[in-house]
């Protein structure tokens, strides 16, 4: 019961934070510098790890499906399997999980420490709403960067699959055949759905992490507790949302 009220409280303050930030959308042009900073942090610094993870995810996917499709003599469809799984599911989810772990945790740590060391209080007394300068630029930046990260993740994942198909002897499919299978069954809608999902996950993750950070109470110890909580809640939200968004976009 207590957990449930905690959940409702957290949900409520995240929604409230969203509305507070939305009120200041008009100030975004003036906050260009902060927005670009956040784009750099969310996008550029996450890119290497997105690349590595997506490459190996694509490779493993090709390897496993090569192994199991062998039995049906359906090896030539590996390309479309890797392609569709990545575009519709794996790309957005992997990118969102990495953003939660790498960016979300950093956001919570920063905002929680600002809260604990009274910097947030100082902003409030200066009549500078934290939602305006701390939350809004991050939400805007994640909306811009998520599709970019997801597209790059997809491309690298597809490429990882192609590499495995070519060089693993038991599969041995040429890249031309792999990519033509990938193209044949892929519709624009599949990629679009994936990008939409990435957008939603990223936005929710950043909102959750900002909200938990700003609601930190107590001393420095609570900073760590908030970060853990933010990452756990983000991961759960991604997977739960994944089911419902996928169903809605089918």
């Amino acid at each position: 019961m207590k957990q449930f009220t905690h959940f409702l409280e957290g949900f409520g303050s995240a929604v409230q934070l969203l509305f507070q930030s939305a009120r200041f959308v008009g100030t975004l042009p003036r906050q260009r510098a902060r927005f670009i900073d956040q784009c750099y942090l969310i996008g550029y610094t996450t890119l290497p790890i997105v690349a590595i993870l997506c490459f190996f995810m694509g490779s493993v996917l090709a390897l496993q499906s090569g192994y199991s499709m062998e039995n049906f003599g359906a090896k030539q469809f590996i390309g479309s399997l890797v392609g569709l799984s990545f575009a519709r599911e794996l790309g957005p989810v992997i990118v969102a999980i990495l953003v939660a772990g790498r960016v979300g945790s950093a956001i919570t740590a920063e905002l929680a420490s600002m809260k604990v060391y009274q910097e947030v209080d100082a902003l409030v007394t200066m009549n500078i709403p934290p939602a305006r300068i701390l939350v809004l630029p991050r939400l805007a930046a994640v909306l811009v960067m998520m599709p970019v990260l997801a597209i790059i993740g997809n491309l690298i994942g597809w490429f990882g699959g192609a590499v495995v198909c070519k060089y693993v002897e038991s599969i041995a499919i040429e890249p031309e055949a792999y990519f033509s299978a990938l193209r044949r069954y892929m519709k624009f809608k599949d990629v679009g759905t994936g990008l939409m999902k990435a957008e939603i996950f990223g936005f929710v993750v950043v909102l959750i992490c900002c909200s938990i950070g700003l609601n930190t109470r107590g001393g420095p110890r609570e900073i760590g507790a908030s970060v853990t909580k933010a990452v756990v809640v983000s991961l759960i939200s991604i997977l739960v949302l994944d089911y419902f968004v996928t169903k809605a976009l089918m």
Binding site: S113, Y117, A122, T125, M126
Partner: protein, 267 residues
Amino acid sequence: MNPPIHRNPITAVESPAVGVTIDGLTKNFGTFQALKNVSFTVEPGEIFVLMGPSGSGKSVLLKHIVGLEAATAGRVLINGQDATAEHTLERIRIALVFQAGALFNSLSVYDNLALYPREHRFGDEATIRDKVMRALQILSLENSAQKFPSELSGGMRKRVAIARALVMEPQLMLYDEPTSELDPVMSATISEIIATLKDEYHVTTIVVSHDRELALGIADRVGILMGGELVFLGPPASLRQPADPRIADFFHPRIDLKNPRFKTLET
């Protein structure tokens, strides 16, 4: 008598100086009573010094004035408006110098000071730069403009916090122990700043301080909190020979080296 006029140093807009009314303020943290039915008023353009032992509720009281804490009972009015109402901070410029400074750790000293004028669009960068540099000069910080808070000493941090409040050009200025970490010369400078702001611009000021010199030197009135209760309210002159033994002990503590307080800890 008409209230004194606060003159905004930038816009030269004149408005009545701000008055603060604390009305039956009570604050509980769980079962602990941090403030017990505290009432007093700070007249427009007045310097009010709030004193009291550590843990007596001074900082908590200041937080109520800027609306960072919500009262359990009673209220704080600033020019007749409730301090917790959102529009109060929008209409009345209040600066609080936090006890711990509360500097923005990710910003340089210069940017700490420039944040407020930039966000509230005081003018172009050159205008803001002038203001920021002048505030830094007043507090002898001009060589630290590019440093970050983590690179400053405790006293320097306090001075940056005061400079940041000066740049806001507030109508109501609240200091939480402005001189606790400063040397005597710098403390005197702070007293001069407080007095000048009052004389020139009629900035209403509340200073929380243990500094007796400062209190007796610049205060128009003094309040003393003990255990969350207001035990004294009056002009500083009447503190020279306080009648209340608690206050006398507070100002003239005796150091008793034979006191067993500490010895009981050694076993």
